[in-house]
């Protein structure tokens, strides 16, 4: 019998509280060895890791590449896989490979199979793909089953066709199926981070609201503690609540710190919408257990009659190249918001002599408005600025041509009152132009109405 089957049988025979170990909020950036070992010594019934999110931007999803380095990803996967097999408990991985599309999932599976071979491990693995089939999605667009939210324009058939990858965030359904299929390892493409941890306790009959609330907190590791951090965290869940404890003794889960975590990256601290329902935290209670542990109860769950899947897609918009430079000239800095558009016009007149304007060129002036979306009036000018010119063009060569031309004419651009006639800008190194490869934008961020959320995400089981 495999790990999930063993756990189900064990809990059926003798019900008890369940221990869930949140090993990493973002697998591939290193799992602290000491606190992970402490977590394993507590004998968790499940080890879960989230591997990604939409926060990292559209390019990873579009390109099909991981955000984490292959070496660190492999090291982290090996650490959790060996520990889970040693304890014979399920290892659950969500949003494989940073963005959870086919290439991300496949790359993760390659590493897992490779580790199994190198370390002589054998296990049953459930794999759930999150890619949404295009013909079905086109049909859904045509029949009005795709809804916009957060002010996103309506999804068109063209955007569906042009997206490099489109994934849906799967909820608990596919995870529950995988758990019931008697497996040791579960690897999902794009998935709700809650499903990673909540699905096993829900299969075992724990209240969904409590399981979801615990999952929502531990998917971020010890971030809910003071001081917050990425160490593994343990949740011990019973029928009435759960106790949180960081596996790093320096991190304390206090009622205030855990309650405050409900704010993190959420637009509403009281409700969390999931594909199959809503988690309601209005009556959540946070209590002291001891100096390092908090007990949480009171969360409730409402199933929805109208399930929706959140879709994410990214479309290529061109090739990106940047110019990196700075200035310490007070007169140039004072006028740069006027001068930079003039340089852009000059560049356009040169690179578009025989070609249409087929690119965009933008400047961010760090020290003035490189970071802030709103800049207060009458700020004193900075002593120096960093300037990033960014071009997005149809080809790598074209983007490079634009930023290289820009570099030369920004360096030598004349303006009234100029003293520094040998050059307006400093380069930290040369070449100061960098080709960054393809650029993407999110072109799909919509809700897909479905009758059955599970049908989109079939569960495949393989023996490794």
């Amino acid at each position: 019998m495999s790990a999930s089957g063993r756990i189900i049988a064990e809990f059926r025979r003798a019900p008890r509280p369940i221990r869930l170990l949140g090993a990493s909020g973002q697998l591939g950036y290193g799992i602290p060895a000491t606190s992970f070992r402490a977590g394993i010594e507590r004998g968790p019934d499940l080890i879960g890791c989230d591997m990604g999110s939409i926060d990292i931007g559209p390019t990873y999803l579009g390109k099909g590449e991981m955000a984490t380095s292959p070496e660190a990803t492999r090291r982290d996967l090996r650490r959790v896989l060996i520990a889970a097999r040693g304890l014979d408990v399920p290892l659950v991985i969500g949003t494989a490979g940073s963005a959870g599309a086919g290439p991300h999932l496949d790359a993760t599976l390659v590493v897992l199979r490779d580790i199994a071979r190198a370390d002589g491990l054998r296990f049953r693995m459930a794999v759930m793909r999150a890619d949404i089939p295009r013909p079905a999605l086109l049909e859904a667009v045509r029949s009005g089953m795709v809804e916009s939210f957060d002010g996103m324009p309506a999804l068109t058939e063209e955007e569906v066709v042009e997206a490099a990858h489109i994934v849906g965030q799967m909820g608990m359904g596919p995870f529950r199926k995988a758990i019931e299929a008697d497996v040791d390892v579960i690897v999902a493409g794009r998935a709700c981070d809650t499903a990673i941890f909540a699905s096993l306790p829900v299969v075992l009959g724990f209240p969904t609201g409590l399981a979801m609330h615990a999952a929502k907190i531990i998917e971020c590791g010890s971030l809910c503690c003071v001081p917050g951090g990425r160490d593994p965290i343990l949740a011990e869940l019973d029928q009435d609540g759960f106790v949180l404890e960081s596996m790093n003794p320096e991190r304390r889960a206090t009622p205030a710190s855990v309650a405050a975590h409900s704010l993190y990256e959420q637009s509403d601290p009281f409700t969390v919408n999931e594909p199959d329902g809503t988690l309601d935290l209005t009556h959540a209670r946070y209590e002291v257990v001891d100096d390092r542990r908090a007990r949480v109860s009171g969360a409730t769950w409402r199933d929805t009659l109208h399930p929706t899947i959140k879709l994410e897609g990214a479309r290529k918009i061109g090739e990106r190249a940047v110019l990196l430079c700075g200035s310490a000239d007070p007169r140039f800095i004072d006028q740069c918001k006027v001068l930079l558009p003039k340089v852009a016009d000059l560049v356009q007149s040169l690179v578009c002599e025989e070609q249409p304007v087929d690119y965009t060129l933008r400047f961010r002036v760090y020290g003035i408005d490189g970071v802030r979306m709103v800049v207060p009036e009458n700020e004193p000018p900075p002593g120096e600025v960093f300037i990033m010119g960014e071009c997005i063009a149809p080809t790598r060569e074209r983007a490079s041509e634009v930023v290289r031309t820009c570099k030369q004419f920004l360096l030598h651009f004349g303006y009234p009152g100029r003293l520094s006639t040998a050059g307006n800008i400093a380069f930290p190194f040369t070449p100061p132009e960098v080709s960054l490869g393809p650029a993407y934008r999110f072109n799909v961020y919509h809700l897909l109405h479905v009758d059955n959320t599970d049908a989109l995400f079939p569960v495949e089981v393989e023996s490794v």
């Binding site: 926060d55 957060d150 205030a256 309650a259 405050a260 704010l263 509403d268 601290p269």
Partner: protein
């Protein structure tokens, strides 16, 4: 007194790629109460500060976390051309100097 002198945490982050959320957290109930009742943290004042219409700013009081949450639409979707802050983690600065 400035908000940055009263609060324990003042932070910003995306809540999905199209919304920005700002959290202000306090170390004591007294500090939280003092700020949560202040018009300086109303939708009008925050909208002016961020150049967003007040009706597109949501302010949520969260006593369990001694916190105030502000939610608004991002002008540029995360990662779109022209974005300055893909994670939205550095848009809190306008809040620091609010006089309470």
């Amino acid at each position: 007194m400035k908000l940055s002198d009263l609060a324990q945490v003042i932070r910003s982050k995306n809540a999905g790629p199209r919304r920005l959320t700002l959290d202000i957290m306090f170390g004591s109930d007294a500090d939280y109460q003092r700020v949560v009742q202040s018009p300086a943290l109303g939708a009008d004042a925050i909208g002016r500060l961020y150049h967003v219409p007040a009706n597109r700013v949501t302010i949520i009081a969260y006593p369990a976390g001694r916190a105030i949450k502000i939610v608004m639409a991002r002008e540029v979707m995360a990662g779109d051309p022209g974005d300055r802050d893909v994670y939205g983690a550095q848009q809190h600065a306008p809040l620091l100097g609010i006089e309470i």
